[in-house]
Structures are given as C-alpha cells and as structure tokens.
C-alpha cells in the first residue's frame, strides 16, 4: 500500500506503530531467545514463532481488556502480543521464581489467568476446547468478552477441533478460532495430512462463519479480527479465521527443518511479517527512519533488561516446592 491509501478508513499511526512494535518485539524475543537456548541457559523445548508474528500481532491488537486468549506450544508470540511482561517471560524460560509460572511450567506453559491468558499448551489442539470453555464461562456470567484460541494446521486434525467448535456454534459463543496454517505439523506437510488444505472450509461445514487471510500481513489480520470480535460481541459467534503462514525454521530450535524446500522458504521470507509491519508504518504514517530505529533500540533494550532481570532472579527453593506440593 502507498501513502495515497490514506483516507477516512486509513489505519492510524498509533495502530501501525503498535503492530510494528509487537511484531518486532516477538522477532527480538525469539531471535535472542534462541541464542540463550544455544548458550545452554534455557532447558527443554523452544518452539520459535519466527515467520508467524503477523498473526498474533494482528489478532491481539484487535482485542480489548477483559478478553481471553488460549495459545499453543509455539506460544511466545501470543503472550507478547497479548501484552505479557517480557521480564517474567524470560524469567520463566530461565526457570526463575520471578517467571510467570515460578519456573514450574517453562516455555510451553506460560499462562496469566489474571490477564485472560489461558496459557500455552504442550498438547497440540488442546487450546480449542479450553478456549470454548472460557467463552462459555463468559456467556454464563453475562460478559461480552471474546475468547480467541490460536490453533494450527496440526491442531485442526485433532478430534477436539470439530467437537469444541461445534459446541461453540450450537451455543453461539463469543469465540474466534484462529488457525495458523504454517503448512507443517512438526515435519509433516499439510498435503500429507489432509485432502483439502484450505482449512477455513471446515468451519463452513458446520455452519460457522469462516475466513481465510494472509497471516503474514498484520494489518489484514487485524481488520479481519476486529470485525470478528465485533460480531462475537453482538452474539454472532463463533468465527473461524485461517491465517496462512510459514515458519522461518524447523519445529523447534534443534530441528534444522531440512524438509522445508528452500525456494518456498525464500518466497515466504520475502513476505516477512515484521518487514511488512515496518513498511506499513513507514509508508502510511510518515514516521522518520530515525524514529523507527529508536523503537527498535528500545525493544532490544527491553529484552536485554529482561535477561539481566532474569539472571539476577532466584530459583524456587526445595522448601517452597515442598510447601506448594503438600496439597497433592
């Protein structure tokens, strides 16, 4: 889009800056997090959201306080877009007491119920029924909150995908299922997992309003999600959004992703969501390059500070652990 696209419906500078900040923050978190992992500071699994930043960025920018999200094993991006404290995220990855889960959960279980983040999830597809449940709870308490579950092409082949979306449909819940179609379930291509690779059609099959969007275009995701959230608050949910995207690397840090064709990967990298968020901001808002550089610097510093904070944080003690588990 060019500057001439400015008009009554043109996105505000504030929105464009927010989208860029979020996408860039995720990019930094994942890129720098991988370095920490490779230095041996992070144990267990680390599933990078690199390449998919446009989806969480656009979706969360369209939600408001009091709404809910449920995430996946590849969940850092959703947390950040939701406004999580990077300090507490890094601290959790470094198994510190100051982490979101005090070091009990790690990368795959970061949650913050007080802020409506129902958590990342180590079981692919499990966030779908949990998100529908939160939407049901909100309907019962008469809240107009919207719940979004981030799922995936992998999660779409789990039985609970249909079961829970169907429950959301018969009960008209304020629920949006965002299917991040990154074309791979770990290493298995979507064409090997299903006959029709346009996953939004699965929603149509059970009477759910469903859309497809370029997941690497944060602004397009934002507009679609904004509309979906409004409809949900009007009692016209649930809605399914399939966002096409592609990972920039393998399933997790230690997966070289050799099964990903290099030409296809290059084509998707040319549509990098962070670059597009930056381009949208510069082209549509008239922001100076120096201002963008300042934003980037600020975000990098926030991450560095989070690492510093986490390194200086303590771990949970065995005594605290014993006290905590007495209830089991």
């Amino acid at each position: 889009m060019s500057a001439s696209a400015k008009g009554a419906n043109a996105p505000s500078r504030e929105l464009l800056e927010k989208l860029f900040r979020t996408a860039y923050k995720i990019r930094v978190f994942e890129s720098e997090g991988i370095k920490l992992y490779r230095q041996g500071l992070i144990r267990g699994y680390f599933h990078p959201y690199l390449g998919q930043e446009g989806i969480a960025t656009g979706v969360c920018a369209a939600l408001k306080e009091g709404d809910y999200i449920a995430s996946t094993h590849r969940g850092h991006g959703h947390c950040i877009a939701w406004g999580a404290d990077v300090k507490r995220m890094v601290a959790e990855l470094l198994q510190k007491e100051t982490g979101y889960c005090r070091g009990y959960g790690g990368s795959m279980h970061i949650a913050d119920i007080s802020q409506g983040n129902l958590g990342a999830n180590g079981i692919v597809g499990a966030g779908t029924p949990l998100g529908v449940g939160a939407a049901l709870a909100n309907q019962i308490r008469g809240s107009d909150a919207v719940t979004v579950t981030f799922s995936s092409d992998g999660g779409a082949n789990n039985g609970t995908f249909l079961e829970s979306l169907n429950l959301a449909a018969i009960w008209n819940l304020a629920f949006v299922l965002v299917v991040e179609n990154n074309h791979y379930a770990v290493s298995t291509r979507i064409e090997e997992s299903t006959r029709d690779t346009d996953l939004y059609k699965r929603g149509l099959a059970i009477g759910v309003e469903s859309h497809q969007v370029d997941g690497n275009d944060p602004l397009a995701v934002y507009h679609l999600m904004k509309d979906a959230a409004r409809k949900c608050r009007e009692g016209k949910g649930p809605i399914l959004i399939e966002a096409k995207t592609f990972r920039h690397m393998g399933h997790h840090v230690n997966d070289p992703g050799k099964y990903m064709p290099s030409e296809e990967l290059a084509a998707w990298k040319a549509k990098d969501p962070v670059d597009r968020a930056r381009a949208a901001l510069t082209e549509m808002s008239g922001i100076e390059i120096s201002q963008i550089e300042a934003i980037e610097q600020e975000i990098r510093k926030e991450f560095d500070d989070a690492v510093e904070f986490s390194r200086n944080s303590r771990e949970i003690t065995i005594e605290e652990f014993q006290q905590f588990i007495a209830a089991y």
């Binding site: 070091g103 949650a111 913050d112 119920i113 958590g119 779908t128 019962i140 609970t160 079961e163 905590f324």
Partner: protein
C-alpha cells in the same frame, strides 16, 4: 432432622442448592436438560435454572470435558455429566494433561474447579463397555481428586463440597446406587474431602470398601456378626485425598484388614492401600491383608459370569474369616 431419600435425589439437592448459591455453577451433559439425565439426577433443573446453566451436549466427550475444564480455568464452576465412566476415556487428555496439570504448571496461579460426574460399576447387564470401575486410572494422576460416595448423605455433602473447592474432581457414582435410600440431614451441610466414615464399628477385622462395595461389606459384616465376628466397615469416601489416619487407626484397633474393590485387581487402589498398611502398620497386623477385587478381565454380559467377575458378599465373608485364621488362605485363581 433427617429424612430417607434416594442417592439420586441427594445428588440433585446438592446441585440445586449450589446452583441457587452460586450463579457460576452450571451443568452440561448428554440428555441432562429436558430429559433430566439417564438417572434422573438433573430432573427439574432446566425448569428452575434455565437453558443457560443446564445444557444438553452432542455426544462429544473430549469436547465437553475440555470445554468444562476451560470454563473452570476461566472462573466458572462447571459440572460435566458423563453418562458412563467408560465414555470418559474419550476425554482423558483434558483430564490428565490439562485439568490435573494446570495448577502445578502455572506455579499455583491457575486453578481448575471442574467436576466430572459420572457413574461406573457392574449390575445392569450392560457388558464390557458400560460396566467398568476405573477409579484407579484417576487415582494414579496427581492433581485430580477422586470421590466415590456409597450413601445418599455422603453423595450430597461431598458434591456440595466439590462445588466449593478449587481442584478438578472426578466424582464417581455407581449405577446400582441411584435408587438406594438412606437418611439425609435437612438443611445445608458439606462433607470435606479426605474424611473416612465408619459405616459400622467393630473390633475384629476392618473391611475397607467404597462405592457399591460398601453395601456388600455391610451385608457381609451383618452375616459375620451372626458368627460372633465384629467387623468394622470403613468407607474412605474419597480416594484422593485418602484418609490414611482413619485407616491406620482402624487397623491398630482390629489388627486385620480386608480391602474390597469392584475394580479389577491389577494396579488397583486396594493394592495401594495395602502397601500403605504394610509400610505403616506392619507390626499391627495379625494376618496378611486380604484384597477382594474384580477379576483381571473385561466384564462379561452373562449374569452369572458378571457376578463371578466382581466381589460378592460370600467372597468378603471368606476373606474376613481367613484373616481370623478360621479358614485356609485360598490360592489366587487368576
């Protein structure tokens, strides 16, 4: 004041009172709204509380259990009724990997006040996929509470307590108990988890039993009394948490133990209770602990075979007599 009411009515009273107390309590399940449930536990609740809080579901156990767990995480108080415990197997990921783990995984900030009500056991001629006693599966998973009431008063008090605490509860009723009657106090009361109840006091042998094995143990105790043997029948009521102190106190008094479970013997809760007793009360014992349990097989349809598959009153009597050295120890048939 107490009155005699049925187990199913006691359960309904608990749900009704708690729904009246707390607008966040709701119930979903197959055929529970208009129809009132296969066992009539939810009869009348739709008319009283409306379709927002009393909902029928499609036949989708994984989905409905998962939705219940999600609603609980988000602060509501769901009861998910599953027709048969056998069908709960379709929702095991949601119970085992989600509900049970959430509190620890979040470092204690996330709680899951979720209740799955379901029923198990033999007795209806409904064969292998509708007759199981699966408490050991849930007992094995840290993070789940396992409740198995044997009498109407317990059913009501325990269900009310379940609806006021913060952890996932597997509430296992018994298909054979719904129409049994018992005294239930008037007015509100709760029964805390982890408190065993002595259903019959005695000094010669402790019979530990839960769910539908309690009436059988009581019948056995009555017959043993005719022989001059005073059996104490202890009902743990909740298997998780387990009232170890009450069990050990009873063993210290009687020095002899029979544990009765309807579930198959292999890997069962009875074996675990037995291990606790041998570790912590070994020197109190005057005889080996006896376990009377279901055979290690799927439940057959034929009535006589079904009966032969699970503990009957004479099996319990024989086991009690063995602990008193009144008859020789049997060689395990299986």
């Amino acid at each position: 004041m107490t009155r005699e009411i049925m187990y199913r009515d006691a359960l309904r009273e608990a749900i009704d009172e708690e729904m009246a107390n707390n607008p966040l309590v709701f119930i979903i399940g197959e055929g529970i709204a208009e129809r009132g449930g296969s066992y009539k536990v939810t009869e009348g609740l739709l008319a009283k509380y409306g379709s927002k809080r009393v909902r029928d579901t499609p036949i989708a156990e994984a989905g409905m259990i998962g939705v219940g767990v999600g609603a609980a995480i988000a602060g509501a108080r769901p009861i998910v009724e599953i027709l048969y415990v056998d069908f709960a197997m379709l929702g095991m990921d949601m119970l085992v990997n989600q509900a049970a783990k959430f509190r620890l995984m979040t470092g204690g900030s996330g709680r899951v006040p979720f209740i799955m009500r379901t029923q198990g056991g033999t007795g209806g001629g409904v064969a292998a996929q509708h007759s199981q006693s699966l408490e050991a599966l849930f007992y094995h998973i840290p993070g789940l509470k396992v409740v198995m009431p044997s009498q109407p008063a317990d059913a009501k008090g325990l269900l009310k307590y379940a609806l006021r605490q913060e952890d996932p509860v597997i509430f296992l009723e018994h298909k054979h108990l719904y129409m049994t009657k018992g005294p239930v106090p008037e007015g509100e009361y709760v029964i805390e988890f982890g408190k065993a109840d002595i259903k019959r006091p005695g000094k010669d042998v402790t019979i530990i039993a839960w769910s539908n094995m309690v009436p059988r143990a009581l019948e056995a105790a009555a017959k043993l009394a005719e022989e001059g043997i005073e059996a104490e029948v202890l009902d743990p009521r909740t298997l998780v948490p387990l009232d170890k102190e009450a069990i050990l106190a009873s063993v210290a008094k009687t020095n002899r133990v029979v544990i009765v479970q309807e579930a198959v013997r292999r890997g069962g809760v009875a074996s675990d209770i037995c291990s606790i007793i041998q570790e912590e009360a070994f020197y109190s014992l005057d005889a080996p602990v006896e376990i009377v349990a279901g055979l290690n097989i799927p439940v057959p349809f034929n009535l006589e075979l079904e009966k032969a598959s699970v503990p009957q009153v004479p099996d319990i009597i024989s086991a009690a007599r063995r602990t008193l050295h009144l008859q020789p120890r049997a060689i395990a048939a299986q």
